[in-house]
């Protein structure tokens, strides 16, 4: 059985790579891109198989990579694979995206699958780069200057995050006494490493850039606003979870660290409320969903922070469940925008109620998957200020989601065209799936009861009701919130960046002067002198 599992694990990676290879052959390219929804199938199987097993490690012979699958990774892998299969199949069934888009899609998919099963630092870094960088091609190849700006900002944050993570990973490798770069080995050596604090800081910063932790959140609203709905669904659903798996893997959850844990909790809840507050100022449903992602990722960060404070190693599975639920719901919500914007679908009450259930499930509406997700993270938000803040964030999410439902009445103009027809027809199934699928998997991750008692019902319902009520009150009072540009802090960061750019012309002027022959000649003599003095004084 282990052999079958290992084969599945390798096949999860090999299949998308095979599709990528097929793209190089001119005759096969069209088929490879059209049928790429088949590529994540082994990953789905692997994820489902790996949910209940002990972690499996597999060393790839030639490339020097290690693959490793543990239950949190398996859960996210299964969810992401499902999402990729459904959206890819629908997208290529109805329309033929051009080769650039198709290739970017396939590359992002490969990276997404790989990032959950990577077992050593170098392969993780590779797949992390693959899931982040080609995603540029999903929305930024256009003449629209807004899209280009979104793309440039996305790239800037991505590359900055990569650089920060590179330094963190180098520190992790050095801290490991035998020089192994396997994730398990370096994490075991991290608590004893002399650079532990710097490494943790860099890891939080690097992965924080991916999940939209404040102050690195500016790119998310711009990107999800610019991306077409299928791409936005995938990026917000599966792409962002690469950052989540990064935090899960690279935070030493088994060791209680009060300082870093508290910092993470503060940052997490700050992001959670920040996302709600700024999301309320927006009208574009896609942007609102982006702010909701910022908020939800903040909750995940806070949960991980509490796990770090208490030293709970099994929190990884709980957080992964929460993230997997968010994956399904957020993707379905993006599809909702497209579905309810199309002329064909009448604004029937049933559809709207389904959309409302879906949206509020994010806030923990009882009997939905979201309630189970809240239940899963109960161990982290058990007591103290964390519990109160968690409840407050549920209220905030409900508030934001109700605002989203209200803004669905005025969708962005292109929303109807962006969503392929088959996805729109499939939408009710997708929404129901997002609400109900977590019920199927809950038993795999936790033995705790399902929370079907009446007391739990009330506990879950009152924050949602309060939040929804607040939103309706806001609408009724007609108080308009201040207009904040999409991406809020990004405007400040862009201004700072432009000021940084001013060093360019002055450096060019310096270079022009250094390239004058007399200056260069004198520089040569001065370097001789400098080397001489360095040598003589050193000995």
């Amino acid at each position: 059985m282990t052999d079958l599992f290992s084969t599945l694990l390798v096949a999860s990676l090999a299949t998308p790579l095979a599709f990528l290879g097929a793209c190089f052959v001119k005759g096969w390219r069209r088929y490879a891109l059209a049928f790429q929804w088949l590529a994540p199938l082994p990953s789905l199987a692997t994820g489902l198989t790996g949910l209940t097993r002990a972690p499996l490690v597999y060393d790839l012979p030639f490339l020097g990579f290690t693959l490793r699958l543990d239950p949190p990774g398996a859960l996210l892998l299964a969810g992401a694979a499902l999402l990729w299969i459904v959206v890819s199949a629908a997208l290529w069934r109805d329309r033929q995206p051009d080769n650039r888009f198709g290739l970017s899609w396939l590359l992002t998919m490969t990276g997404n699958v790989g990032v959950f099963i990577a077992g050593d630092l170098v392969s993780f870094y590779l797949f992390y780069a693959l899931v982040s960088i080609p995603a540029y091609g999903l929305f930024a190849f256009s003449d629209d200057s807004g899209h280009k700006r979104a793309g440039a900002i996305y790239m800037a944050f991505t590359i900055l995050g990569e650089a920060v993570l590179l330094l963190a990973f180098a520190m992790l490798v050095i801290g490991e006494p035998r020089g192994s770069s396997g994730i398990v080995d370096v994490m075991a050596a991290l608590p004893a490493s002399p650079w532990r604090d710097a490494t943790l800081g860099l890891i939080i910063a690097g992965f924080g850039m991916k999940i939209g932790m404040v102050p690195f959140n500016g790119w998310m609203p711009l990107t999800y606003g610019a991306a077409p709905i299928p791409a936005a669904a995938l990026l917000s659903g599966a792409g962002v979870k690469a950052g989540v798996i990064g935090l899960i893997r690279f935070l030493p959850l088994g060791i209680a660290s009060e300082g870093w844990g508290d910092a993470l909790v503060v940052l997490g809840f700050f992001s959670a409320f920040y996302g709600v507050a700024f999301g309320l100022t927006q009208q574009n449903p896609k942007v609102i969903l982006a702010y909701s992602s910022i908020s939800q990722m903040g909750v995940i960060t806070a949960a991980l922070g509490m796990a770090l404070v208490n030293g709970q190693a099994d929190a990884s599975l709980d957080v992964a469940f929460y993230a997997a639920n968010h994956l399904l719901v957020k993707a379905a919500l993006f599809l909702t925008i497209g579905a309810l914007a199309t002329q064909g679908i009448k604004r029937s009450h049933a559809n709207f109620i389904l959309a409302a259930l879906l949206a509020l499930s994010l806030a923990g509406l009882p009997l939905t998957g979201g309630a189970l997700a809240k239940l899963a993270t109960k161990a982290q938000f058990a007591s103290g200020p964390a519990a109160a803040l968690a409840t407050l964030s549920s209220i905030g999410t409900a508030l934001l989601m109700t605002h989203f439902l209200i803004c669905l009445a005025a969708p962005p103009p292109a929303a109807a065209q962006e969503c392929p027809a088959s996805l729109i027809h499939f939408w009710p199934a997708a929404a129901l799936g997002a609400i109900l699928l977590p019920w199927v998997f809950y038993s795999a991750i936790s033995e705790a009861p399902y929370g079907l008692e009446f007391g739990d019902f009330v506990d879950g319902l009152w924050p949602v009701a309060l939040g929804a009520g607040l939103a309706l009150v806001l609408v009724r009072t007609g108080r308009s919130l201040p207009r904040v540009p999409v991406g809020d802090s990004i405007v400040l960061e862009e201004a700072a960046f432009h000021r940084l750019l001013s060093v360019g012309p002055s450096l060019e002027a310096l270079d022009a002067r250094l390239r004058q022959w007399p200056t260069a000649g004198v520089s040569l003599l001065m370097i001789i002198l400098a080397l001489l003095m360095a040598g003589v004084s050193g000995s």
Binding site: A140, D143, E508, L514, W517, I527, G538
Partner: protein, 498 residues
């Protein structure tokens, strides 16, 4: 150290490796004309085979292979020595010279019916001369012998810069020549001081005799600075951008990829083979600081260039800065020194292949579109997909993203600088990667956009494939196994030990 002075089995291969391009030069010159191309191209597979054979012998012996010219061991005679890094550089030089030769056929071949021209003859002879000079540099064991090889390298590279005959290329070539001569004469003075102090110029003998006196430091400073002038380390880079940007693509690839690496290789030989017994920490820091300045300044100026070839030339200035970080990172005998050493050599190889591929692509682009203005590259990727794939792969290595040789080099450099406690160097390493991402983005983003563009003439498929092959090698270097890094350690003297 008798074992580094007497001929070992396989030593004759070193002589053959040097003689092959020299004989090729003579044969190219005598029949002349269109035969020059045939001689040059036919000799490339033999040269590659020789380089691989040398590598095989070195790896089997586990120590450097030696050849005492004329049977006379140093200090009376001259020894040729090939250790791990020599063998690797010989192979790399053979591959890149071959690629440049086959790429250059489009412009410098003289098919039947076309009059023989001076430009073609010059190209093939100078290409082989550069190859010969590089082979001597990589295996030479005597400092004055290396001086002659260095001069041969410069004199062969200068005509390649001005092969077009345009006025600005001649000015660029003249600037290159005069500044390189400034460097040479500084190197020669250093050689004189070394000989005056210790009576020998053989590298391994000097390593045993050298002591930390002011004369030796003066000699080291003079020689190093001369080599820095030839390697175009910031702020001595004045000749490189116009020379490399205005030369034809095949020439630029060899100039950026190999010629500057030749003088850098000599700097390595000087500091790690002749002077390891000296406490060179402060001098290493000086070199590291210059390298860091090169990385930052070169990358920022590259970001602001309007022409693609100038951008790539300034990128060379920046990447050369990475090379000089090897001096603080590989000094001494600690565990991290080996990591720093591997990082430096990997950076040489990755940059050589990636930069050659990028210059080839830039040449193809310029021919296909009629210009190389970056602002007018909108939508070019649809017209030239293979070329831009090559630029993307080469850019991947320059940025230091996995999987690529550039990533391996950066990864190892970061480990060496953290573990040696020299945190300062992590900043330019990371900043260089960010800035490189900036200028690669500047090239690729408009090219991949939706704009429409017409091509003047489609590029030749063979040239595109050669460029792609070099870029693929740069990527493949990222998968180098640990045995490769162990191979690079063969023959490296560690501080204080022979």
């Amino acid at each position: 150290m008798a074992e580094l002075a007497t001929t070992t089995p396989g030593g004759y291969l070193l002589v053959l490796a040097i003689l092959l391009p020299v004989v090729g030069m003579i044969l190219s010159f005598t029949p002349g004309g269109r035969n020059a191309e045939r001689v040059a191209l036919c000799s490339t597979p033999f040269g590659f085979a020789l380089a691989v054979a040398i590598a095989f012998h070195v790896s089997r012996a586990g120590k450097p292979i030696v050849y005492a010219v004329g049977g006379l061991p140093p200090p009376l005679g001259i020894a040729l020595r090939a250790d791990g890094i020599s063998a690797v550089m010989l192979v790399a030089a053979a591959v890149i010279v071959a690629a440049a030769g086959f790429y250059g056929r489009a412009k410098f071949a003289t098919p039947d019916g076309v009059r023989e021209g001076r430009a073609s003859l010059t190209f093939w002879i100078m290409l082989q001369a550069i190859w010969a000079a590089l082979n001597i540099i990589f295996v030479g064991g005597d400092l004055f012998n290396l001086y002659v090889a260095l001069e041969l390298l410069t004199f062969a590279a200068v005509p390649l810069v001005c092969i077009d005959g345009r006025a600005e290329t001649i000015a660029a070539a003249l600037r290159y020549l005069l500044f390189a001569l400034f460097g040479s004469i500084s190197y020669l003075l250093g050689v004189a001081l070394f000989y005056g102090a210790h009576g020998t110029l053989d590298i391994s003998l000097l390593a045993q005799r050298v002591q930390a006196t002011p004369v030796i430091w003066m000699a080291a400073a003079l020689m190093t600075c001369g080599l820095l002038a030839k390697t175009a380390l910031f702020p001595l880079h004045l000749w490189l951008p116009p020379a490399h940007a205005n030369a034809p693509a095949a020439a630029s690839a060899v100039l950026s990829g190999l010629v500057v690496k030749g003088s850098f290789f000599l700097t390595l030989r000087l500091w790690f083979y002749v002077l390891p017994a000296l406490a060179a920490d402060k001098a290493a820091i000086v070199l590291g600081c210059l390298g860091s300045a090169a990385i930052i300044a070169g990358s920022i100026i590259a970001l602001r260039q309007a022409r693609l070839k100038l951008l790539i030339a300034y990128s060379t200035v920046a990447q050369i800065g990475y090379l000089f970080l090897v001096f603080p990172l590989a000094a001494g005998a600690q565990t991290w020194s080996a990591i720093g050493w591997s990082a430096g050599v990997m950076q040489i190889l990755a940059h050589a292949f990636a930069k050659a591929a990028m210059f080839f692509s830039a040449g193809l682009l310029a021919e296909a579109l009629g210009h190389d203005q970056i602002a007018k590259l909108g939508g070019a990727a649809r017209v030239l997909p293979l070329t831009f794939l090559t630029i993307a792969l080469g850019g991947l290595s320059l940025m230091g993203l996995p999987p690529s040789g550039g990533f391996s080099a950066k990864w190892l450099m970061l480990q060496a600088s953290i573990s040696s406690g020299q945190w300062l160097w992590t900043l330019p390493i990371l900043a260089g990667g960010l800035l490189a991402a900036g200028y690669v983005y500047r090239i690729l983003a408009p090219a991949l956009s939706d704009d429409q563009i017409m091509s003047v003439s489609p590029p030749k498929r063979s040239q595109e494939l050669i460029a792609l092959a070099l870029a693929a090698i740069a990527i493949a270097l990222g998968f180098a196994p640990q045995t490769f890094f162990d191979f690079l350690e063969i023959g490296r003297p560690v501080a204080g030990q022979p």
